[in-house]
């Protein structure tokens, strides 16, 4: 395994996706990992996502807003109030709003980024890159 790691030109960044759409998580994982720049963890609900974030300390979290039981904003608040995860950048994924609406909604807090579904891969990578950098 170490042999393969040596082939990768850069240090991989870890991205955690928290989204109840399992297929979406699956495809984003495939796409990001295909670039060889990312290692991707997936969680299909808020509590599992928080556990993974505390355990693996990802470089960035992609967080869906509308999820059953625990919404993305609640997950974000939980992550912000935990010492271990408070500095991890979060990008919200949303299927309900357009860019123009964000300024006046509850979603804008803590300087978080937003990505609007459906999103193309180059835009996703661009946003992740901007936030990690």
């Amino acid at each position: 395994m170490d042999f393969f790691k040596k082939l990768v030109p850069v240090t991989k960044k870890t991205v955690l996706i928290i989204d109840d759409e399992e297929d979406f998580c699956h495809f984003v994982k495939l796409n990001l990992e295909e670039t060889k720049y990312f290692e991707v963890l997936t969680a299909y609900n808020g509590p599992d996502g928080i556990d993974l974030a505390i355990r693996y300390q990802p470089d960035l979290i992609l967080l869906d807003i509308i999820m059953p039981n625990m919404t993305g904003t609640e997950v974000a608040e939980a992550l912000r109030s935990n010492k271990a995860t408070k500095d991890i950048p979060i990008i919200f994924l949303t299927a309900i709003v357009k860019r123009g609406e964000v300024g006046s909604t509850e979603y804008q807090f803590g300087g978080n980024f937003f990505i609007f579904k459906p999103v193309k891969l180059d835009e996703l990578i661009h946003e992740i890159g901007a936030k990690i950098r």
């Binding site: 759409e21 297929d23 979406f24 495809f27 984003v28 495939l30 796409n31 295909e34 509308i66 299927a95 309900i96 357009k98 860019r99 123009g100 609406e101 300024g103 579904k117 459906p118 999103v119 193309k120 891969l121």
Partner: protein, 306 residues
């Protein structure tokens, strides 16, 4: 400038006053024969005219109030329809955008995997384009039913029209419809939300295509026009040689859920959304149609800042 009023409208508006004046005339003629007192004649004449004037004003104000109520009721019905549409659109948007996001991500992976196979790559790109188009339709519904800020940029109109044409390219070929473009030179740039204006033309082209099941000509003409306030504007005329729309239906053509088409696929929202987008750009949209000969849609977009 005073608005022109027809003779019929004059009679409707001042009918009682005219009757009063006529009565005075008859009275004077009658009195002339019977030679009554001058003061009595004048007083009665004035009273009759004042009475006619008073009654006529009363009727006119009642009529205006009734028209205002009818207009308000119509607007209320329209806003109720929009509110219902807004609620449906918001729910549908979330449910549709998630599967679209999955399709786009899946296609992105296929594009990477098939990068050496031009034929299959072309297929995946078409699928992606369609998914993004469906997303734009959902956004259109949302922007129509809710106030969403427009993403404005200064751009030429022709590339936007051409891109909308690519969306209907397949249908054009399938129905053997020829496109006749007449683009004017040196048109001013328009500040607009390209996605939304693209949707306007996609809607218009789709309507035109559906009106020409047996083939025909889709005409697209652009020209510069001066706005009423001296501001330059761009006029785009989209015409077809299809079946046309009966006059009584044109009046309701922009109402939400109103459709002239029999197909179950039609929601009756296309032109309503189109008008909403044009209104937000402070533009104009007019439809002229002649049953059996075709329809012309004239769009005017101001060239300045919105």
């Amino acid at each position: 400038m005073m608005p022109k009023i027809s003779v019929r409208q004059q009679i409707e508006k001042n009918g009682l006053l005219l009757i009063a004046v006529m009565m005075v005339g008859i009275y004077w003629a009658f009195d002339y024969v019977s030679s009554g007192h001058y003061l009595t004649r004048t007083l009665i004449a004035v009273l009759v005219i004042v009475y006619g004037f008073f009654i006529q004003s009363l009727i006119n104000s009642r009529k205006a109030a009734l028209e205002e109520t009818q207009r308000t009721q119509k607007q209320l019905a329209q806003s109720e329809k929009l509110a219902a549409l807004g609620a449906v659109a918001a729910g549908v948007a979330h449910e549709v955008k998630n599967p679209l996001a999955i399709i786009v991500q899946g296609v992105e992976f296929l594009k990477m995997a098939l990068r050496d196979n031009a034929r299959l790559l072309d297929v995946t790109e078409r699928i992606e384009k369609s998914a993004l188009r469906a997303d734009n339709i959902v956004k259109g519904l949302l922007s129509y039913s809710r106030e969403i800020a427009l993403k404005m940029e200064e751009t030429d109109i022709e590339p936007v029209i051409d891109e909308a044409l690519t969306f209907v390219d397949h249908q054009l070929r399938q129905k053997r419809i020829n496109v006749k473009k007449q683009y004017a030179q040196d048109l001013p740039k328009i500040i607009m939300d390209c996605d939304q204006i693209k949707q306007v033309f996609t809607n218009l082209f789709t309507n035109a295509i559906e009106a020409m099941p047996g083939g025909g000509i889709l005409g697209i003409r652009t020209e510069q026009a001066g706005g009423g306030n001296g501001q330059a504007s761009v006029k785009v005329v989209v015409s077809d040689t299809g079946e046309g729309i009966p006059e009584d239906r044109i009046r309701r053509i922009f109402d939400p859920f109103f459709t002239t088409k029999e197909s179950e696929r039609n929601t009756g929202l296309g032109l309503s959304i189109t008008k909403g987008i044009i209104d937000k750009h402070r533009g104009t949209i007019e439809i002229e149609s002649e049953p059996g000969r075709g329809t012309r849609v004239v769009i005017g977009l101001p060239a300045g800042l919105v």
